[in-house]
Point group: C2
Chain length 329, copies 2
């Protein structure tokens, strides 16, 4: 089945270069949702988009931009890796509702309402108290629904996430996180959230970032596949996918930017700690994008049918995006 398999990675933030694009293709990846910004505001976001335009220009044999779901199928057909832009925070719209559509026109297809902290839209998963989606947040969700930009609550708090599921007319996603029941971490999600997400037609992308996994970097492929199986039971097989959170070849400075942005005067260690401040070691069975076939094989070995493996590896993402990226009439 490997040849026909559509593989979607629901989130990566790698240190993009030609070698990494080649690895994505070698791993059979059809489309990857790439984070283009964390805390970058409007002008800085345009800089990142311009950098991507150079990647597209100089690597057009390997990659192509995703401007609609049809482009995902086209990428598959052409044997290229589709690149879908996303933001891990709402900084690319600053305080301006009009920027939702402007960013969508620039192919920003998915945006988190928060990144760990309180934002103008909602509350992040690291705040002590989550007061839910804000007044501005409600309008932004409505506007994202209108233009066909996906709401992503991966780094949001429980209440804000439940609010967003409820408020959004269109199903939302948690692009990269795991169930708290598998591994208790601020970034992972309760069964309450996951159940509501599944029932609303949304989608969870399973993270392969060691901080989100049982036993961290030592998590086994079997354990990972067990988690997939139990989450399929909870949410339904149509509502799960992959979102590796792979941050390949990034220097420590990028991790520090992700964690501290411009908001923290003291060093914040996020999911790490002062004595464990660096990137986690990668999993032995998922070192980079070339290892996607290991996940496919793991799911098959765990007893998933070919049909269900195809869903988890990419088809669910494609089916979800087919609806989600369509602007409302």
């Amino acid at each position: 089945m490997h040849k026909d398999l559509i593989v979607v990675d629901g989130l990566q933030y790698s240190n993009w270069n030609r070698q990494i694009f080649e690895q994505l293709r070698e791993g059979g990846v059809t489309m990857v949702h790439v984070t283009i910004v964390y805390h970058e505001q409007i002008r800085e976001t345009l800089l990142r988009i311009a950098e991507w335009n150079r990647h597209f220009e100089y690597n057009s044999d390997l990659i192509m931009p995703i401007k609609s779901t049809a482009d995902i199928r086209l990428a598959k057909e052409l044997g290229k890796v589709g690149i879908m832009f996303g933001a891990q925070n709402c900084s690319p719209i600053e305080d301006d509702i009009g920027m939702v559509e402007v960013m969508r026109e620039l192919n920003l297809m998915i945006m988190q309402l928060t990144y760990n902290n309180q934002s103008l839209l909602a509350c992040g998963c690291y705040e002590a108290e989550d007061s839910g989606v804000t007044r501005f947040g409600k309008q932004v969700i409505q506007e994202m629904n209108r233009v066909g930009m996906v709401v992503d609550m991966s780094h949001s708090g429980e209440r804000s996430t439940l609010d967003a599921i409820e408020l959004s007319e269109r199903p939302i996603v948690i692009s990269h996180a795991n169930p708290t029941s598998f591994h208790a971490a601020k970034r992972n999600k309760s069964d309450t959230v996951l159940k509501a997400l599944g029932e609303s037609g949304g989608l969870l992308g399973f993270s392969l970032y060691p901080f989100h996994l049982k036993n961290g970097s030592d998590c086994t492929l079997d354990d990972f596949c067990d988690m997939v199986a139990s989450t399929a039971d909870l949410m339904g097989i149509d509502h799960i996918g992959i979102g590796t959170d792979l941050c390949q070849d990034q220097p420590l400075s990028v991790l520090e930017w992700m964690r501290n942005g411009r908001w923290s005067k003291e060093k914040d260690y996020g999911e790490g700690s002062k004595s464990n401040a660096d990137w986690p070691s990668p999993l032995s069975w998922f070192r980079d994008s070339r290892d996607f076939p290991n996940i496919t094989a793991g799911l098959q070995a765990r007893g998933f049918s070919d049909e269900d493996v195809a869903k988890v590896m990419g088809l669910n993402w494609v089916n979800y995006l087919d609806e989600a990226l369509r602007p409302q009439r």
Copy 2:
């Protein structure tokens, strides 16, 4: 012929609202190139685009954005007015070559390299000395050629304009100006420029802004049509169109912004003077967009064939844009 006529206005900067959109439709306008910015930089340009998105959202029965030449024909078919974005200065790219493609992705289809003054790219028509297209300007022209953004030299100096015609691999335009031989004004163009423009496959849009016309606001339709005829002889009938420069219902403050931007501490009066600082009175035969049929009738009365009238009124613009807006492969 009126019903089938494709009418293109090669430049307007009106105080956009529903009434003006209705007038455009009433005048049979198929597409109008609207100036979205004069001196606005990147962030401000995005504000203007967001304002246009609201116009499109609330007036979708009347207007539609032009994202390719096919959209011009679609607008004709649907009986809507197509809106094509343009910039009268290069401020929307600031000092950043990467912003050419980013702005093109936001449907900025045409950009002047200068607005009266020296810019980072070239020299404007009000400077004492024109040293031609700059180093940055050469790269920007190349990039505009690549992404399919039209180079417009309406407000540029003679040498810079000749440079741009020469340097640009793809034909350029002077979207709104008249021959100096018809009326001597800094903004009008010499026969040398117009001949080079025509020979290179470019296009001139005739201005109906009184400061660009013989006898100003008293210019007659006959005189205007004579100018069209003699320019057709000079440049060829395929290389001329209309670019009214209509600035309808704009307050004086907007004229002051156009003339002074943020660069002048003293008040600059541009084409006017201290004793004549306000907008010029409109022509009796072109008060607003509803009067386009007067031009059509004037050209017919002047002896232009139906085929040639159709070219001047819009077809030449459409044929030009068919090539010019296509990104290079």
